[in-house]
Amino acid sequence: MTTAKPTQNMVWGEAWGEATHRLASGEAWLVGLWADGGEARLALSTGRPELEFFRYAAVDGSFPSVGATHAPAIRLERAIADLNGLKARGAPDPRPWFDHGRWPVSHPLGDGAPASGGEPARYAFLAAEGGGLHQIPVGPVHAGIIEPGHFRFHANGETIVRLEARLGYVHKGIERLMTGADRTRGAQLASRVSGDSAVAYQIAFARAVEAASGVVAPPRAAWLRGLMAEIERVANHLGDIGGICNDASFSLMHAHTGALRELTLRAAGHAFGHRLMMDCIVPGGVLVDLDRDRRAGLRELTTTIRDKFPRLVELYDNTASLQDRTVGTGRLDLELARRFGCGGVIGRASGRDFDARRDHVYSPYDELRFDTPVWREGDVNARVWVRIREVEESVRLIGQILDRLPVGPIHAEHEPAGRAGEGWALVEGFRGDVFVHVRLDEDGKIARCHLRDPSWFQWPLLEAVIEGNIVADFPLCNKSFNCSYSGHDL
């Protein structure tokens, strides 16, 4: 079985520039960029199973900007400046990102100095100038039941010329809360980074800690994790398929997928004791086992979805008025998806064939059969179709896991003695690849935990795809992306 691997290939300063160059030239994509103490850390991938890690000692409180030549790093560098106080030299965008000027401290992960106080500075949105242009400010409180964020549109009549998002409204200081936490507390926080990805974050956190401390979760635990992850994927995709159709005013689909989603959450609640499966996974294993009765409930769920879902797929496929809204809307280029290392449904709907379950394989996926559906068109329609096929694949996976669930313990026998170490994990959540990197101190407590949501590399692309679309199509595009605010804002 595959285990999470400890952090390897750590390279110091001189290689930083070369790594930046490789990112800019498209040889590699960015996986993570964060700071730990006085060091900047960079993780990148070339598609091989191992990631490459680089660190740069920011002796004078600064490090060479990656974002200067590789745009996906810009917001991560702005977050580092706010949280750690390390400056990216030559960074193209000096504006703060998470720090809206309302915290009692500045650089909460760095020196934690008292904030200067006073009225928060006005945020300067990027401009679009020309005759007939007007601005539409939206948020942070939106019209629907949705997380908060601000969208600033520049439009010419109905046509959007520029969209810029301002995020950070739900910044809860999770990485600061993680510092000094034990594993149980860490797992509790990981469950709540982004509630819709509770399972993906729990798995990523658990595997990163396991890698850092040299623990291996028993096979049954890994399979149960996989089971929860696929249930989570099905529930979210069902919600999103319906949500996208609903944003095109086709509520019939929303009603039907909503009912299937409810059945999925009920089955999860029955099987694991929590509808969103929070607090089910810890480093070393899982907390809930699956008995015969609960297994039967999940079987029944797969039968129901297999029975009802094809009709809904047909409904989507045969409703011309709906396709009229989704086909050709919000098109994302493959080249842009690649440059941003855009994972999940969004990347795969634009032809970027990446799936962490397959490309950074971890148990139980090394022993399961599944396809990764890829579409080329990159529009809202393609994102719906990838989700449809992924629901079918995940239902197959749930069936395979229920058939072949190994027997044995659900938790590693011995709690490891505290030891310092580092570990990482890349886990395929329903939204894309969740990256977690942890550093443990000598007592086995968390010295630093960095959690990178797939949304970091998807939010900027939403701004790109909306250009030239009409304002009325924004909800449709936004829902077809369904980025996480909380996962991004931390």
Binding site: A143, I145, Y169, G173, R176, R192, A255, R311, S486
Partner: protein, 175 residues
């Protein structure tokens, strides 16, 4: 589409009108909500949801209130797009410092009489995020709260129960 619509007509609603076993509580609640809403609100209550910093778990369960099984709107309870149309603010999440002003403004924009329901463990006292530099605390730290709904996140049935309790409380006030 025709087949789907015809099936929908022939098979009857999924809505749990006569639910069995563990859903009996829900059915009883539903009947009570209906009575209370009719008495004090003319069968209508408009709810504006505000996420003041949640992990989005609460939002998922609030969304579920609208699905065919719970069908919130049959009680005259509905979500509205603007605080100016709302009787109730349903607030989720610990209040982050970055959202404090937005919550205060939303509350100010809601016409009186108004009620605030704090949804979930975070909205009570910050929950898992209590003590963070980025958190003000529970919703009660920023706006007056009429009712706290427990759970992380609260189950949809629990949310229904909360709205009922609010309605009953209102009746007592006006009696």
């Amino acid at each position: 589409m025709r087949r789907t619509l015809i099936d929908g007509l022939l098979n009857g609603p999924l809505t749990e009108a006569a639910p069995a076993a563990d859903d009996a509580e829900l059915a009883a609640l539903a009947a009570e909500v209906e009575r209370a809403a009719a008495a004090s609100l003319g069968r209508s209550l408009s709810i504006r949801h505000v996420d003041a910093g949640s992990c989005n778990g609460c939002e998922l369960e609030i969304h579920a209130l609208g699905n065919a099984y719970y069908d919130l709107e049959r009680f005259g309870l509905r979500f509205v797009a603007s605080p100016r149309h709302a009787d109730v603010l349903l607030v989720s999440g610990p209040v982050t410092r970055n959202m404090r002003e937005a919550l205060e403004r939303t509350y100010a924009a809601t016409p009186a009489p108004k009620w605030v329901v704090a949804c979930g463990a975070c909205a009570k006292d910050g929950g898992a995020f209590a003590g963070s530099y980025a958190i003000v605390g529970g919703v009660g730290e920023v706006v007056p709260v009429d009712l706290y709904v427990p759970g992380c996140p609260p189950r949809p049935a629990m949310l229904l129960k909360a709205l009922l309790a609010l309605l009953n409380g209102r009746q007592r006030q006006s009696a």
